[in-house]
């Protein structure tokens, strides 16, 4: 039970029920990346607008479980206003953290920190990762 309570933390539920920055914009200045989780049908699209190496906006849309949808919302809140360099470091460490790999604990992951509970659920790591992977791809595309 403890593991599960650690998984479904309040922040996660809050973002699941009240997602921030949701809905895509028909604006070509955004980089759009769409990712699916082949093993469970989660389906997430991330839009990122970058100006002068700054994430000026980040949006999401999609469907899936609470971990998947909320992590997309948390991602957008975390990233808006960050420099692309900083964003890359945060996303990289977040992805390592949820996959239970060695990561730099000194980096402040802000709200995204709560996804640490996912480490106990290897089958759910992908759920917590796909939005962030899509974001990483968007950065790489830029």
């Amino acid at each position: 039970m403890e593991n599960l309570e650690n998984l479904y933390r309040e922040v996660i539920l809050e973002h699941y029920k009240n997602p921030r920055n949701k809905g895509l914009l028909p604006d070509p200045s955004y980089v759009t990346v769409h990712i699916k989780n082949p093993s469970c049908g989660d389906d997430i699209t991330i839009q990122t607008k970058i100006k002068d190496n700054q994430i000026v906006d980040c949006r999401h849309e999609g469907k899936g479980c609470s971990i998947c949808c909320s992590s997309a919302s948390v991602l957008t809140e975390t990233m808006i206003g960050k420099s692309t360099d900083k964003a890359k470091i945060i996303a990289d460490n977040y992805l390592k953290m949820v996959a239970n790999k060695i990561y730099d604990e000194k980096i402040d992951l802000e709200e995204a920190e709560v996804y640490i509970g996912v480490r106990q659920f290897p089958a759910r790591v992908k759920c917590a990762s796909i939005a962030w992977q899509a974001f990483m791809q968007a950065l790489a595309k830029k």
Binding site: M1, N3, L4, E5, L7, Y8, E10, L13, E14, K17, C40, G41, D42, K63, G64, C65, S66, I67, C68, F121, A123, R124, C127
Partner: protein
């Protein structure tokens, strides 16, 4: 304690605390099957059909004996039994070999929204490639294929009827014998997906009169990597192989080649020998036990479990009237993947997702659902653990704010 005369044969559940309710995805394997595979790997380990030495001969014998066992099991002759990688490969073989050659623009292929993707997509592909029309049997209000609804789409243009015998999500049994008779009256061929049926009822292809029938080893106590295509000899004989290569040919010349007779012409290269031999042992298991008694037990488990689950507020069940061991459900407001982690934490193994049947999900108007599948080695104690877990899951997710 309640007696389950079969359970002791399954080390996966007797040797650890696991409530296995995912047999519709893959059944557990009895000790005898595990040992048959090990026997081949450990003692024989030789290729078949060409070896004169003892091990090669025994392997060949066991492989071909399995073909005979499968034939007896479904009342066919060995020549009508093709080994494949699984039900999916078997259904594709019919579509690619028979379908692409014999279906023409304007022809109609009847399928249903209950189909597993492995039964649907091969024919969707044939329709797209040949210009034939894919026609869906309308499901009734429960989600069933009925004879009346089937008749409403059957026409003189119908060339293929490709339907599931038992739905892998809702567990409904299709009135397939009647449908086959009706289809034959229109000279349509019938391709039956028996992947969920073969382990739940006696299947007799001569009584059914189906033209093709497919199933997988791993859902009927056998190993992964092996499946069966049954085909009437007259069809197998005229069908071209899709894969060509070693062992399936007679004469090979530089610019052309001749094939062996069916079923050998469909088995190119080294086949899954160990898995085939394991399937033979799985069939021995079915022959040594009473499938009707097993299925009776499943129905009692299903009835008990359904009655209890139905009482839990906050649960939606999608197949209340199912006659086989499946319960398709969701916890209201909780995505199936969130829910399944809860069950997994309590060692209750069930499946979450679209179950390779997205059209059923769309028909139910849901994204995904949970599926508990009961099998003969399950006990009432298993059901109680599942029922308790469901009750507690509802409470848990409520507490967490879902």
């Amino acid at each position: 304690m309640e007696q389950n005369i079969w359970r002791a044969d399954f080390p996966q559940i007797t040797e650890k605390d696991m409530i296995y309710l995912d047999s519709a995805a893959s059944s557990l394997k009895p000790n005898s099957v595990i040992m048959a595979v090990t026997h081949y790997d450990h003692d024989l380990s030789a290729n078949i059909h060409r070896g004169v030495y003892k091990e090669a001969y025994e392997a060949t014998f066991l492989y071909e004996e399995t073909r005979e066992k499968v034939a007896r099991f479904i009342n066919a002759i060995p020549e009508e039994i093709v080994f494949t990688r699984g039900a999916t490969a078997a259904l594709n073989l019919v579509a690619l070999s028979y379908g692409l050659k014999n279906i023409h623009p304007g022809d109609e292929i009847i399928v249903s929204e209950l189909e597993h993707h492995s039964s649907l997509l091969p024919w969707q592909n044939v329709a797209l490639k040949t210009g034939a029309k894919l026609v869906y049997v309308p499901l009734d209000s429960e989600g069933r294929i009925t004879i009346a609804n089937f008749e409403s789409v059957l026409s003189d243009h119908t060339k293929v009827v490709a339907l599931t015998y038992i739905s892998n999500v809702l567990g409904y049994i299709t009135p397939i014998a009647e449908i086959i008779t009706l289809a034959h009256a229109k000279k349509a061929i019938t391709v039956i997906d028996a992947a969920q049926a073969i382990e739940h009822m006696p299947v007799d292809v001569k009584t059914l009169k189906c033209d093709f029938l497919a199933f997988s080893g791993h859902k009927m106590l056998g190993p992964t990597g092996i499946g069966i295509l049954y085909g009437k000899q007259e069809y197998l004989e005229i069908m071209e192989p899709i894969e060509v290569g070693g062992d399936m040919n007679d004469n090979v010349n530089k610019y052309d080649a001749e094939w062996k007779d069916s079923p050998y012409k469909f088995e190119a290269g080294t086949m899954p020998i160990a898995s085939a031999i394991g399937l033979g042992t799985a069939i021995d298991y079915w022959q040594e036990h009473n499938i009707m008694a097993m299925e009776d037990h499943v129905r009692r488990l299903r009835k008990y479990t359904y009655t209890q689950i139905k009482k839990i507020p906050g649960i939606t069940i999608y197949n209340p009237t199912s006659e086989t061991g499946l319960i398709a459900f969701n916890i209201d407001g909780v995505h199936a993947h969130d829910a399944s982690s809860y069950f997994a934490e309590h060692n209750v193994c069930l499946r979450a997702g679209h179950h390779c049947a997205q059209l059923v999900m769309k028909w139910l108007n849901i994204e995904a659902c949970l599926r508990a599948s009961l099998f003969f080695y399950n006990t009432f104690a298993d059901c109680d653990r599942f029922i308790d877990a469901t009750k507690n899951a509802v409470k848990f997710f409520h507490k967490m704010g879902f």
